[in-house]
């Protein structure tokens, strides 16, 4: 975690820009937002994110906040979670929501897809064992349905069960009677979400950020 001077440093911005792919302008704007959220401190904590009003009504709020503090999203082999993050980590997590550039090769597109799906996978796989178990998936569905009224855990369980069955039938195919379906691995996850064009769906328009809007 680098230490920042109080004035924006061009050189540091440039290294960040190279690392995450954002333009200098976008980095400046995001830095402003970071300072606003962290109340001008160097690091951001979970409580700072919890104060955001727009997240109040979001059913998966806790998972989103967790994702910012998850070491796996900062670099490839990170493990565990941290209590506070600096601007670099904030920016790294944001870079998962960048749109693919117009002229990129198939390989780069595939790589971007994998990175974004890995982010999603990490959000579901809370115990970091490399698979999404039935319990974890049930939790995901419960959270999704949590704000939508009192339908109880049974429906969520039913839906999650059906979803797991679908994954099993798509990825593993016919199974012997004694076989267990352990959980969704990353490869299976890639397979079942092949239909959603993740690289174009999972993005935010960072280009049109207006600083006047940030004063909230």
């Amino acid at each position: 975690m680098g230490s920042f001077q109080s004035l924006p440093d061009d050189h540091q911005y440039r290294t960040l820009s190279q690392k995450t792919g954002f333009s200098l302008e976008q980095i400046a704007i995001l830095h402003n937002r970071f300072k606003q959220l962290s109340q001008n401190e160097e690091t951001l904590r979970r409580d700072d994110l919890k104060t955001i009003q727009d997240l109040e009504s979001n059913p998966i709020r806790s998972q989103i906040i967790e994702a910012f503090f998850d070491r796996r999203n900062f670099q490839k082999d990170g493990v565990g979670s941290v209590e506070e993050i600096g601007f670099e980590e904030f920016l790294t997590v944001m870079s998962y929501f960048r749109a693919p550039a117009h002229h990129i090769t198939e390989e780069q597109r595939e790589e971007m897809r994998r990175a974004k799906l890995r982010f999603l996978f990490n959000m579901h796989d809370t115990d970091n064992d490399g698979t999404i178990t039935l319990e974890e998936y049930r939790h995901v569905v419960e959270e999704l349905l949590s704000r939508s009224g009192a339908l109880g855990r049974e429906t969520a369980k039913g839906i999650a069960d059906a979803a797991m069955l679908e994954v099993a039938s798509i990825s593993v195919g016919p199974m012997a009677p004694d076989e267990f379906y352990e959980g969704i691995t990353f490869e299976h996850f890639l397979k079942i979400l092949k239909g959603i064009e993740i690289e174009t769906t999972m993005h935010i328009h960072f280009l049109n950020m207006d600083t006047s809007v940030l004063c909230k």
Partner: protein, 604 residues
């Protein structure tokens, strides 16, 4: 024996006598015999002819599909126009005057079912995602086409035309026609994005066409154009478009509200949907607003609420009736186009017609390329050259242009016949040449085809998850992007609107659960079909993958959850346990599911 014969003859004679006498006594003036069989065609002429035409059209449709080789090469619309030509020729040979496509009949009876079908089943998500692009093609593209065609026609001066008639002609001929686009694009199965772009454009450009048409007609009548008139024209456009949407919206809300109370009279539920939509169309037409936009708005707005309220049978009824009516309408329109070609007075002018066709093509290509260049700066998924080509090539003209031209008064526009001939030629050109060649071109250019949309609960879960995630991230960024607003709209919808418009417990049902219920219903039906020959086993199948947390999850055991929400019964009812081996897809009901999907896309 002879006695009996004698008695019979006597009886007959006795009967005939009084009858004849009675006849003579009651009607002394008329000495005719009572007619046993007479012909009175005039009494039934109107409905008889209408039914005959519809029957003919339906039989033709039947016939085409019995000739697979022909229907694979030539799109249905072309065949229907050819048949219309033949029928028109036949009528003319018989000495009578072939009927022309009456504009009132067209706009009030034939067009609404097609538009309602399109609007009710409009795939909303791709439409809203590409709304900006669609609007710019519809509004700016049509304006460009009109002025480019009109201005260059005036510059070329075939048949010494004034500027205003040229512009009027430009406005009529430049609008992409939804009927023709639907007819051709349904058969080529291109990907969703291109389909919604061309189709959405053809629907939304109605507002522009209506305004321009009335504007130029008024100006031609008045004779003089001021700047104030032009300004009023622009205002008129907004009034027409937004007014149409408003009218449609009001009727849509009314329909949704009415459907809340129909639980005791399920039989007439579909009637409300049709009537409210038709009333929306007619009401918009009263004020010269855009009827098409009213119809689309009505269908789009009422659909989610109506579908939550009505029974499954009513839903099926609505779907089938809409498909049926729109199919018949489409067939009739094309046949009548053919017949009208034979009938109508023609004034053939080589220069005019050739210049028109060339200008139409040119303006379309330039318009699309130019607009895409600007639009791509704002789009996430850029439109490639191939996409632009398909969008430009798919700009077909159709019966709307013909009917609008037909409505012109011959006094104001002495060149009306020339216009009609040119428009018919353009329509023929686009439908035949472009319609027939677009399919091989799509294959040649390897344009992406429509994905087989499988009902996947995983995709649905993750789509919802992504929506919330993106809205959340936008919240963290402090950026009010369109995810944020969509999220807000959804919450508003859930909290207030659904409670008003959806009756009973269903108003609280989250989208994921209703999706899941629908999917289960479909799969249960599928299983019923596949197991109809075999016996419904209540035993658990042997090949059952078990899941880690100790739960025994049988492969493919489904259970019915009650559709009445609040009572979602997730406990496995042993009596309705079916068994299905995961890898073998059931052969039988594939067509059922496919049919269901295909019905959504009007292929029978």
């Amino acid at each position: 024996m002879r006695m009996r014969m004698m008695k019979m003859l006597l009886l007959l004679g006795l009967c005939c006598g009084p009858v004849c006498c009675g006849q003579n006594q009651s009607d002394p003036r008329d000495q005719r015999v009572f007619p046993v069989l007479s012909v009175n065609y005039d009494y039934v002429q109107m409905p008889f002819e209408v039914s005959l035409w519809i029957l003919l059209a339906s039989l033709l449709k039947l016939g085409f599909h019995l000739l697979p080789r022909l229907s694979a090469v030539v799109p249905e619309s072309c065949l229907l126009i050819v048949v219309g030509l033949l029928v028109g020729g036949l009528i003319r040979v018989m000495g009578k005057k072939p009927p022309v496509l009456d504009s009132q009949l067209f706009f009030l009876c034939l067009l609404p079912p097609i538009i309602l079908d399109a609007g009710y089943f409009l795939p909303l998500r791709p439409f809203t995602e590409n709304a900006g692009t669609i609007l710019s093609f519809a509004v700016l593209g049509t304006l460009w086409n009109t002025f480019f065609t009109g201005a260059l026609l005036y510059a070329c001066r075939p048949a010494a035309l004034e500027l205003l008639p040229c512009l009027l002609f430009g406005s009529i001929v430049s609008a992409v026609d939804p009927v023709a686009v639907l007819a051709v694009f349904e058969e080529i199965h291109i990907n969703e994005l291109l389909h919604i772009l061309v189709f959405g454009e053809s629907l939304l450009n109605d507002a522009v066409t209506v305004v321009l048409y009335h504007l130029f007609e008024e100006f031609a009548h008045a004779g003089e154009v001021t700047a104030g008139d032009v300004f009023l024209g622009v205002v008129c456009f907004f009034v027409v478009a937004l007014g149409g949407v408003l009218v449609g919206g009001v009727y849509g809300v009314l329909a949704a509200f009415t459907s809340r109370f129909t639980s005791h009279t399920r039989v007439i539920e579909p009637l409300f949907v049709f009537l409210y939509s038709y009333m929306a169309y007619l009401s918009a037409e009263v004020f010269h607003l855009s009827g098409i936009m009213a119809l689309i708005a009505c269908g789009v707005i009422m659909r989610p609420y109506v579908e939550a309220n009505i029974s499954h049978k009513s839903y099926t009824t609505i779907k089938y009736f809409l498909k049926m009516w729109s199919s018949v309408s489409e067939t009739l329109i094309f046949v009548f186009l053919g017949v009208s070609t034979v009938a109508g007075p023609h004034a053939w002018n080589w220069t005019f017609v050739t210049i028109t066709i060339v200008l139409c093509l040119l303006s379309r290509v330039l318009g699309v390329v130019g607009l895409t260049f600007i639009i791509n700066k704002y789009r996430m998924v850029k439109l490639s050259g191939k996409d632009q080509f398909i969008v430009a090539y798919g700009g077909l003209r159709g019966a709307i242009a013909f009917s609008l031209a037909f409505l012109l008064s011959s006094d104001d526009f002495p060149m009306k016949d020339m216009f009609l001939t040119a428009i018919i030629t353009v329509i023929f050109f686009t439908v035949f040449v472009q319609g027939m060649t677009i399919r091989p071109l799509v294959d040649l250019l390897a344009v992406k085809k429509r994905k087989e949309s499988k009902c996947s609960i995983n995709e649905e879960i993750h789509t919802q998850f992504l929506e919330h995630l993106l809205a959340g991230i936008e919240g963290v960024c402090g950026h009010y992007g369109h995810h944020h607003w969509r999220d807000k709209l959804n919450r508003f919808n859930k909290r207030y609107i659904k409670r008003c418009l959806i009756g009973g417990e269903r108003s609280q049902e989250p989208q994921l659960v209703s999706f899941y219920n629908k999917m289960e219903l479909k799969q249960a039906l599928m299983l019923l079909e596949s197991n109809s020959s075999a016996n419904l086993s209540t035993a658990v199948t042997a090949a059952a993958p078990r899941l880690e947390s100790g739960e025994r999850l049988r492969s493919g055991s489904f259970f019915f959850s009650e559709r009445s929400a609040g009572e979602v019964n997730a406990r496995r009812k042993p009596s309705v346990k079916f068994s299905l081996e995961p890898p073998k897809p059931p052969r039988g009901p594939e067509h059922l599911l496919e049919e269901d999907e295909e019905l959504m896309h009007r292929r029978h």
